[in-house]
Symmetry: C2
């Protein structure tokens, strides 16, 4: 008996389950493992022995899973201790793998998860444990090093660009319009905010300004440029990343000034950077009307608007992880290399997980427009192929039909 296990970690994406489907689907073909187990809630649940058997899924269920958003296995935000300081979890983890005859562990996640992959494989290697630990990339943030882009990003970008286009049309209908502010995710990097530039009408980008965390936000400059555009056009469309920081490196948000308690129950953050920027515009009387749209988790769960390119690539990295595992490799993440844009083509390769772990791929400085408030054509060229293609989702009573994995049916 030789089995494997797959689990999901960190913030989900629209296509994170497509990678699980890729792992299971490929094994159904090559029959390398007897069973593909699924760990519930990542490492955290696995350590509690919460594990199901994904090989029992029918082909139809697997197809549904490929097109179901959000971590179907559940996720966690769990950082493993350094094994030199605390070996306990490592012992327990490999004990569980042994118990279940699991040869290979696939972990789908971002840079934190690649830290887990790196630590587990290093531990196994040090202790002479013959197990394989393999990372599968996932994050809407697109901030992983050593991969052209990350599965999850293209779908979030397509959601952001579509919503930008549609709300732009809405934002300019009155004789007197205002300033529209779209807030995207992206705590450290501007990849998500940048994708709004893909929204075009008559070949022109509809967005006036994009503010990224990679460029410090100078309020005075901001007010002056927004005021200029508003005077000229009687409207302005601004996109801002949640991670935008001021000159002192502080993230911009509106605090609840009443909250003084420190009891573990954090008090409401009244507004993020979008609301902050709205307040600045109002306070400085730049425009009489403003509107903020904070996309929040919709941008990472909107499978109905996912990129087919992204879905297929998320499936591919799962499938390739399975293939690489059958070749005996360990301690790596599946990376994607872009072979070209015309036609757009990628191939996968293996990159040491330790090189990806705890690192951040920032939006390139040279892709930020000279004025610091938009992006270059080169950046658009990079993003454009990632949002191509629309899935045909199964529909039931007018809504997408998604699968709900039975997480209680433990093995």
């Amino acid at each position: 008996m030789k089995n494997c296990m797959v689990a999901q970690s960190g913030g989900p994406t629209s296509v994170i389950n497509s990678s699980v489907a890729g792992v299971v689907g490929e094994n159904n073909k090559i029959k390398y493992y007897d069973n593909v187990y699924g760990g519930i809630n990542g490492i955290e649940g696995i350590l509690q022995e919460r594990i199901i058997n994904l090989s029992k899924l029918t082909d139809k269920d697997l197809e549904l899973l490929k097109y179901t958003p959000a971590a179907g296995l559940g996720s966690c935000r769990y950082k493993m201790d350094d094994f030199n300081k605390n070996e306990e979890e490592y012992l327990k983890f490999f004990q569980i793998l042994d118990m279940l005859d699991v040869q290979t562990f696939f972990y789908i996640g971002g840079n934190d998860s690649m830290d887990t992959v790196s630590k587990l494989s290093e531990y196994a290697s040090l202790k002479g444990i013959d197990k394989q630990i393999i990372g599968i990339p996932k994050t809407i943030d697109n901030d992983l090093l050593h991969t052209d882009h990350t599965p999850g990003y293209g779908s979030a970008a397509k959601y952001i660009a579509t919503t930008t286009l549609e709300t732009y049309l809405d934002s300019r209908i009155y004789p007197n319009n205002g300033v529209f502010i779209l807030e995207t995710m992206g705590r450290d990097t501007g990849w998500l905010a940048a994708s709004a530039a893909l929204a075009k009408l008559n070949g022109e980008s509809v967005v006036d300004f994009i503010y990224l965390p990679e460029k410090e936000f100078i309020e005075e400059k901001f007010l002056s440029e927004v005021s200029d555009v508003f005077q000229k056009k009687n409207r302005a469309y601004i996109v801002v990343s949640e991670g935008v920081k001021d000159e002192s490196g502080e993230t911009l948000f509106i605090r609840d000034s009443d909250s003084k308690t420190h009891d573990g129950f954090s008090h409401a953050q009244l507004g993020g950077v979008g609301k902050y920027i709205e307040k600045v515009i109002k306070d400085n009387k730049i425009a009489p009307k403003t509107r903020v749209l904070e996309l929040s988790v919709a941008q990472r769960s909107a499978m109905h608007l996912a990129s087919m390119t992204d879905i297929e690539e998320a499936y591919l990295v799962g499938k390739q992880a399975m293939k690489y595992s059958a070749q005996g490799h360990t301690g790596f993440m599946v990376g994607m290399k872009r072979l070209g844009n015309n036609p757009y083509e990628i191939e996968t390769y293996r990159v040491e997980a330790s090189k990806v772990a705890n690192n951040i791929k920032y939006f390139p400085k040279e892709w930020i427009a000279l004025e610091g408030n938009n992006i270059t054509d080169e950046a658009i060229e990079y993003m454009a192929p990632l949002i191509i293609g629309e899935p045909t989702l199964p529909i039931e009573e007018g809504l997408p039909k998604y699968i709900d994995l039975n997480k209680e049916n433990l093995i």
Copy 2:
């Protein structure tokens, strides 16, 4: 020479242009009028003689218009004076109609616009002016009397239900989840918030609570019921209408306590009812984690997720308005009557605009669940057919292709 004119008013919907396409498309068939003109920015722009010729649109453009969200002709929020007090605008309006040989004016809008239709037709009748004034219903709010439902509502409902389903999946991925709060539009009525109940997984509604403006919001009761569900499920999904009011009839939102000026520049409203409810949950330590998603204008402009039923009905009311006009009728709005649910079928009829004007159709009390925090199966039965069907939008570079009417090319 006999022409007609169509214009749009009030908040837009995903399908408000489908009704324009219906008016123009039907006239292209029956050739009743020589030209269909389009008034820019509703009555406000027409009074400034900002008018274009929609009969110049190609069939392809018209097809694009049918599938383009947000008021393509521009909109306004303009209330006409009583003509007994101020006749000037009325004289000007009918002068412009005369000048352009316009026999019939179609106004696409909600209850305020039906007030305009009612006033203009009453004025024409009193003065013996032989012109026809016809209202075409439109509002995501679904709050017009004398029509089973309004074009625009089904698409907003489909957007809300889909987003509810997708963000619900996202909201339950961690071992420790929180309270998710979805804020919909609906200042006076709960129709939009109610539509979240359509989101189902395994046949069960995913939403725990829905709070409507029609039912007073009692904080203590709210905290107790949310706390109960959170204790039981380790999560809760709440939907709340922006118009929810407390026992004294006050809308719930977080004010900017710093704003004291009264200079026409309104200060930032830091948070709507969603943020308010989040604060109440935090302050009362009901759950350690919360997340608010305010759908804002995305719910009224997301053509990519429109209901095909809604698109066709929006087209139909435009088409029927044209037919009724050829029969010589005036002073009415096109209403929809539901003939049945199995199969779902509607027919149109004429209802006096004055009966619709300035009235509000509230969410029926008997469709609110006994506990006051959800809706009944009967309400779901009413909404269900309205979200059926998906349009196949033309796609360009991964995004929907929308038409941008040339509003500068005035006649």
